[in-house]
C-alpha cells in the first residue's frame, strides 16, 4: 500500500483539495490496515480520485429547519469536514467518543451492525427477501470480504444466543434503555451477580455501542462522531475511530470500499444509496429460501412465460382464503398490517399513493401499539419488525418503488431517534414523522403539482389521459374548477380498465370526456394538444415506470408531436435505472387476460387453461424512455426528464429527513 502511494502522488494532492492537509490520509490508512482485514483493501486513491469530482457540487438546498439536518454531502473545504458534520449530528455522539475504541476492537470479527444503512439498501424494492439469511453464513463470509445482504437480521440473531447464554446478562440490562449512550454507565448500573465481566457481556456491550454508532452514522451517511472541540485535541484518535467505524459499513456496502480521509463517508453513503439488487426469481436457491419463511402461501403459476422467469408469478385467488385461515397463527402480525396486506393481495388498494399511504398508516398503527420487549432496544427491534412486515407486504404484492422510498425513510427515522427519548416519546416522534411524510411528500406535493400542471391547461385544449392517476385527475378537476374550457380524452386498457372509474368521476363533475381504448390512441391523437400521464416511479435515467400502456401512449404522442407531461411526486423518484420493461416488472393475474367482462361473444379462452402451449402474460408496468417525455411535473417544479437524477441526488437527504 505504502509503495503504491508513493508511486501515485497525484491522487493525494487531489484529495487534499477537499480535505485538509492535516488529515494525512495515507499514513493513517496504512496504519488502519490491520483492522481493515475484513474488507478488501483495494485501489484506494485512484478510485476515490475518480469519484471526488463527481460529488463536489454543494447542495443548494439544505432544509436544516426540518430536523437537525446534518449535511453529509457538503464538501465544504473546511478543515476536518467530519467535525463539521458531527456538529449537526445527534447530541449523543459526544458521549460515544470515549467508548468507541473498545467496541471497535471486536468490530472486525463480529458481523457488522450498520443497521440502518443495510435496511435502507435492502428495503428499497425487493423488501425482505434477503433479510433473513443465515447468520452463520454471514459471519463466515465477512472475513473474506464478501458481502451478504442480511447483516441486520443476522446480527440480531447472532446476538440472541449470546444473550441466552448469559444467566442474567448485563447485556439485557444495558440494552434495554433505548439510548445506547448509557453504555459507559451500563456496566456500573447493572447489578452483576457474576464478578467476571465475561466475554459475552463485553460482547453485548460492544454490540449495543455499535448499534448506537450505526444509528448515529447511517442516516446522515457516516458522520464521524467526535465533537468539534474534541476533534481538535484528539485528532489522531478520532481518525482512527472513523476508519474503524467505517469497517462495518464497508462490509455492508455493495462494492468494495475505498477509504480515504473524509471522502469515505460520502462514498459509502453513495454506495448505500445505490439500490440493492432485487430478488431474481429464477435463482432457485434464493426462491427456496424465501419460500420457506414466507407467510403467504403462494402457489406458483404453472405456465410461466419464459422471458419473465425472474419475476414472481402466482396463481391468483388461492392465497386469500389460505391467508385468512392463517390469521390466528400469525401472532406477530399486527392486524393493521394484516388488513393492508390482504387489501394489496385482493387488489382493493391500488395506485402508488394509495398503497403507500395505507402502508404508512398501518405502520403508524404498529408504532402506536408497539412496546419494546425486554432485552431489546426500540430502534433495532422496531426496525426488524417493520422489515418483517415489509416482507409480508412483498409477499402479498411486490412493493412499488415509492413504497420502498417510504420504508427507507421510516427506517431512517427510527434509526435516527435520539436515544435519550423515552419510548413513548420515540413512538410519538415516529408517528409524527409518518404523518409529515404523508402530508408533505404526498398530499402537499400533489397540491403543488396540481398548481403547476393546471397552469399548463389552456382554453380549448384537448387533454389525453391514460388509465387512472390520482394526481392527473386532481389536475383535471382543478383546471375544470378554474373554469378552463377543455376536453379530456380518457384512454383505457385492459384488463384493469381503470379509466372507467376516472371517466365516471370526471363526467360526474361535468368535464367533457371522450372515452376510448388504447388501440385507438393513434386515431384520437390527431386532435390532442397535451398528454397528461401519471407515473409509478421515475428512474434516474429519466425512464418513467408506470402502468403498462403508458409507453405506448407516450410514443404515439411523440410521433404526433404532442407534448407529454408526466405528473409525479418527487418521493417516487428512484435512483435505480432501467432500460426496458422486462428486467423488472410485476406480473398480474394471467387469467384476467382471457376474460372479457361484459362481452359474451369473446370466450375463446374459456377452456384453454390447461393447454400447454398457450401462456397468458399480464404485465403490470412498462418503462417509457425519457425521449418521449417532454416534462415532468413534480413538487419541486417542472423539470425535463434529464433532471431527475439531479433531484434524486440533491433531495435525497431531504427525503430521508423531511
Amino acid at each position: 500500500m505504502d509503495a503504491r502511494r508513493g508511486s501515485l502522488p497525484v491522487p493525494r494532492v487531489r484529495q487534499v483539495g477537499f480535505f485538509t492537509p492535516n488529515a494525512q490520509p495515507a499514513p493513517t490508512r496504512s496504519q488502519s490496515g490491520p483492522p481493515d482485514s475484513s474488507s478488501p483493501p483495494l485501489s484506494d486513491s485512484p478510485a476515490s480520485n475518480s469519484l471526488s469530482p463527481v460529488m463536489i457540487p454543494p447542495p443548494r438546498h439544505h432544509s436544516d429547519n426540518l430536523a437537525a439536518a446534518p449535511r453529509p454531502t457538503s464538501p465544504l473545504p473546511v478543515p476536518e469536514p467530519s467535525p463539521f458534520r458531527r456538529r449537526g449530528a445527534d447530541n449523543n455522539n459526544a458521549l460515544l467518543v470515549g467508548s468507541y475504541n473498545p467496541a471497535e476492537t471486536l468490530l472486525a470479527m463480529s458481523p457488522s451492525s450498520s443497521h440502518v444503512g443495510d435496511g435502507e439498501s435492502e428495503e428499497t424494492m425487493s423488501g425482505g427477501w434477503f433479510r433473513r439469511s443465515n447468520s452463520g453464513k454471514l459471519a463466515s463470509s465477512l472475513p473474506s470480504g464478501t458481502f451478504d445482504f442480511s447483516p441486520v437480521q443476522s446480527t440480531a440473531e447472532a446476538l440472541k444466543p449470546n444473550k441466552v447464554q448469559n444467566p442474567v446478562g448485563i447485556s439485557e440490562v444495558s440494552a434495554r434503555p433505548a439510548p445506547k449512550e448509557q453504555q459507559p454507565e451500563a456496566p456500573s448500573s447493572s447489578k452483576q451477580p457474576k464478578p467476571k465481566l465475561t466475554k459475552a457481556e463485553r460482547r453485548a456491550l460492544q454490540e449495543s455501542q455499535r448499534a448506537a454508532k450505526a444509528a448515529a452514522k447511517a442516516p446522515g451517511g457516516g458522520k464521524s462522531v467526535a465533537a468539534p472541540e474534541e476533534v481538535a485535541t484528539i485528532k489522531s484518535v478520532k481518525q482512527h475511530q472513523t476508519q474503524k467505524k467505517d469497517a462495518p459499513q464497508v462490509a455492508v456496502s455493495v462494492a468494495a470500499s475505498e477509504r480515504k480521509g473524509g471522502d469515505k463517508s460520502q462514498e459509502k453513503e453513495r454506495r448505500k444509496d445505490a439500490p440493492a439488487p432485487r430478488m431474481q426469481f429464477d435463482d432457485k436457491s434464493r426462491v427456496e429460501k424465501a419460500k420457506r419463511r414466507s407467510v403467504v402461501d403462494q402457489t406458483e403459476a404453472k405456465k410461466r412465460v419464459e422471458l419473465f422467469r425472474h419475476l414472481p408469478q402466482y396463481e391468483h385467488g388461492t392465497q386469500l382464503a389460505d391467508l385468512e385461515s392463517k390469521f390466528l397463527q400469525l401472532d406477530p402480525m399486527h392486524p393493521a398490517i394484516y388488513k393492508v396486506g390482504l387489501q394489496y393481495l385482493a387488489g382493493d388498494i391500488s395506485g402508488g399513493n394509495a398503497r403507500c399511504i395505507a402502508m404508512l398508516q398501518a405502520f403508524q398503527q404498529v408504532v402506536k401499539d408497539y412496546s419494546t420487549p425486554p432485552e431489546k432496544t426500540l430502534p433495532r427491534d422496531l426496525t426488524a419488525k417493520i422489515s418483517s412486515y415489509v416482507s409480508f407486504f412483498t409477499q402479498c404484492r411486490p412493493l412499488s418503488m415509492s413504497m420502498g422510498n417510504a420504508i427507507r425513510f421510516l427506517k431512517n427515522r427510527i434509526a435516527k431517534l435520539s436515544p435519550s427519548l423515552s419510548e413513548s416519546e420515540s413512538k410519538s416522534s415516529i408517528c409524527t414523522d409518518i404523518d409529515r411524510f404523508i402530508n408533505e411528500k404526498i398530499v402537499l406535493a400533489d397540491r403543488v403539482i396540481v398548481q403547476h400542471a393546471s397552469s399548463k391547461v389552456k382554453d380549448g385544449d384537448v387533454l389525453l389521459v391514460y388509465g387512472s392517476s390520482c394526481v392527473v385527475e386532481m389536475v383535471l378537476l382543478h383546471s375544470h374548477e378554474l373554469g378552463k374550457q377543455f376536453r379530456v380524452i380518457v384512454v383505457d386498457s385492459r384488463p384493469k380498465l381503470e379509466g372507467k372509474a376516472l371517466l365516471r368521476r370526471l363526467v360526474a363533475k361535468g368535464v367533457h370526456c371522450t372515452y376510448t381504448h388504447i388501440n385507438a390512441v393513434s386515431y384520437v391523437m390527431h386532435e390532442v394538444t397535451k398528454v397528461f400521464l401519471g407515473a409509478s416511479s421515475v428512474l434516474s435515467n429519466g425512464t418513467v415506470y408506470s402502468r403498462v400502456g403508458t409507453a405506448c401512449v407516450a410514443m404515439v404522442a411523440h410521433a404526433f408531436r404532442v407534448p407529454v407531461i408526466i405528473c409525479c411526486e418527487a418521493y417516487k423518484f428512484h435512483e435505480r435505472v432501467q432500460l426496458d420493461s422486462i428486467c423488472s416488472n410485476e406480473l398480474g393475474d394471467p387469467d384476467a387476460i382471457g376474460k372479457v367482462p361484459g362481452r359474451m361473444d369473446v370466450n375463446y379462452l374459456n377452456d384453454v387453461s390447461n393447454s400447454g402451449n398457450l401462456q397468458l402474460l399480464n404485465l403490470m408496468y412498462d418503462a417509457t424512455p425519457a425521449d418521449y417525455v417532454s416534462m415532468i411535473v413534480t413538487d419541486y417544479g417542472m423539470i425535463p426528464p434529464t433532471s431527475v437524477p439531479v433531484i434524486v441526488r440533491e433531495y435525497r437527504r431531504d427525503h430521508l429527513l423531511i
Binding site: S493, I518, N519, S522, M555, L605, L619
Partner: protein
C-alpha cells in the same frame, strides 16, 4: 338478363348483411360471380363485357357505400372487379393481335385498311397496358375512338368468332384468377422459411389467415415463439392465440398495452392487413399503427403478409378518418353504464361523454419494412408498380 342480375343482387345482399367474412372469401366469391355473369352473356364483345362487368361491379361496391354508412367496405370486391376488367381488356388486346393474321388471311383485299387500323390500335392498346404513364393515359381517348371505328368496320362473321374467342379467353383468365386467389396462402407461406429462423420471437396482432399459414409453413422446419396481441375491441387475438397453440406453437397472449414493453424482445412483427393502399400504406385492425410505431422505434422489422387481391389501386386521403369505421360504443361501455353520470352532469344540454371506437387503423408506408405477397416480397414503395401490373388505369374509378 335476369340470371346475372339475380345473382348479383343476392351477393350484394350478402355483402350488406356481412355474411361474407374475410377478404379471401369475398374476393373468391366476387371472381366466381363475375365468371358466371360473363359466361351467361351472349353478346361477348369487349366493350359490352367491360360495360356489364363495370355495371355489376358498381353495384357490388355500392353494397357497402362507405361515404354514407361510414362502414369500411371489403375493398377486395372492387379490387377483383378491376382485375376482371383488366383481364377483359388484356384479352381483348391480345385477341386483336391474334386476329391480325387471320384478318389478313381471310379478307386481305377488303379489309386491308381495317387491318392497318387494327394494328395501330393494337399498338396503342399495348402501350396503354404496359405503361401506366401519363403518356398512356392521354392515348386512351384516341384509342377508344379508333377502337370504335375499327369495331364498326369489322365484318360481322369475323366479329362473332373473335367475340367467342375473347369470351373463352376471359373465362380462362378468370379461372386462373380464382385459382390464384384460392392458392394465395400457399404462395405466401412458401416464403416463410426465408424470413424466419430458429428460435425467433414473432409478434403478431389480431387474427389473420395469411399470417397463420405463413407461420405454419415456417414451423415445419423451425421452432420459434409467437406473441399475440389481443386486438382490443374485437379480441380476435384470443381466438388466434388459441388456434396457434392448437397448432403447436409456443404462444403467449399479451394485452395491447404491453406491446411496447414486449417489442424490445421481438425479432419480427408479422401482421395481416385489411387492405394495401397504392402508396404502400395499409389499413388494418385498430392498434396496428401503435404496433408499427413501436416496431419502428426499436428497429424491429414490420412485415405485412397480404395477398394481391388486397391491393387497392386507390391512394389514401386522410385515411385515418375516411377509411375507417366507427363501431358501437357497447364494445367499450355497457349500455346504461354511465346513464346516471350523464344525468348528474350540470350541463345537460351538451353531450358530456363521447365514446370513440374505431375499427381500423392506417399504417403509413414508412413504418412498413416489407410486404409478403403471393408474388414475392416487395417494398412499400414498389406497390404502385404492382398496381400498374394488375389494374388498368381506366378502371381506377369505376
Amino acid at each position: 338478363m335476369p340470371g346475372p342480375q339475380l345473382l348479383v343482387d343476392e351477393f350484394v345482399s350478402q355483402l350488406r348483411k356481412r355474411k361474407v367474412e374475410g377478404s379471401q372469401a369475398t374476393a373468391q366469391l366476387t371472381a366466381e360471380l363475375l365468371r358466371t355473369v360473363i359466361s351467361q352473356l351472349r353478346a361477348a364483345e369487349a366493350p359490352i363485357l367491360i360495360e356489364t362487368v363495370r355495371k355489376f361491379g358498381r353495384e357490388l361496391i355500392a353494397a357497402n357505400p362507405f361515404v354514407e354508412t361510414f362502414v369500411l367496405p371489403e375493398l377486395s370486391v372492387g379490387n377483383i372487379v378491376r382485375r376482371v376488367l383488366r383481364i377483359i381488356r388484356e384479352e381483348d388486346a391480345s385477341g386483336v393481335t391474334d386476329g391480325l393474321p387471320s384478318d389478313g388471311d381471310n379478307q386481305e383485299t377488303a379489309d386491308y385498311a381495317d387491318g392497318q387500323v387494327s394494328s395501330a390500335d393494337v399498338l396503342a392498346t399495348r402501350r396503354l397496358l404496359r405503361s401506366p404513364s401519363l403518356h398512356g393515359l392521354l392515348d386512351r381517348v384516341s384509342n377508344a375512338h379508333t377502337d370504335d371505328m375499327g369495331g364498326k368496320r369489322k365484318a360481322p362473321a369475323d366479329k362473332n368468332a373473335k367475340a367467342w374467342m375473347l369470351k373463352h379467353n376471359v373465362m380462362e383468365a378468370i379461372n386462373e384468377l380464382v385459382e390464384e386467389i384460392s392458392g394465395c396462402h400457399q404462395q405466401i407461406a412458401e416464403q416463410a422459411l426465408e424470413l424466419i429462423h430458429h428460435n425467433e420471437v414473432i409478434l403478431t396482432f389480431g387474427k389473420s389467415k395469411s399470417v397463420m399459414e405463413f407461420l405454419c409453413a415456417a414451423k415445419k422446419k423451425r421452432s420459434f415463439r409467437v406473441y399475440v396481441a389481443e386486438g382490443a375491441p374485437k379480441y380476435q387475438g384470443h381466438c388466434f392465440a388459441k388456434d396457434l397453440s392448437a397448432e403447436g406453437f409456443r404462444t403467449t397472449l399479451i394485452t395491447d398495452s404491453a406491446v411496447f414493453a414486449m417489442i424490445s424482445r421481438v425479432n419480427m412483427v408479422v401482421v395481416g392487413a385489411h387492405t394495401v393502399m397504392a402508396n404502400g400504406g395499409i389499413i388494418g385492425p385498430v392498434g396496428l399503427n401503435m404496433l408499427a410505431l413501436a416496431a419502428k422505434q426499436h428497429g424491429v422489422p414490420f412485415v405485412v403478409v397480404a395477398a394481391t387481391h388486397k391491393l387497392c389501386p386507390l391512394y389514401p386521403e386522410n385515411p385515418v378518418v375516411r377509411l375507417n369505421e366507427l363501431k358501437s360504443p357497447s364494445d367499450l361501455l355497457q349500455f346504461g353504464e354511465f346513464s346516471e353520470c350523464m344525468e348528474l352532469a350540470p350541463d345537460s344540454s351538451a353531450c358530456v361523454l363521447n365514446v370513440v371506437n374505431p375499427a381500423f387503423d392506417y399504417v403509413p408506408p414508412q413504418l412498413i419494412n416489407l410486404f409478403i405477397t403471393d408474388i414475392g416480397g416487395h417494398n412499400p414503395s414498389f406497390m404502385y408498380r404492382l398496381i400498374a401490373d394488375y389494374y388498368s388505369a381506366d378502371d381506377f374509378i369505376l
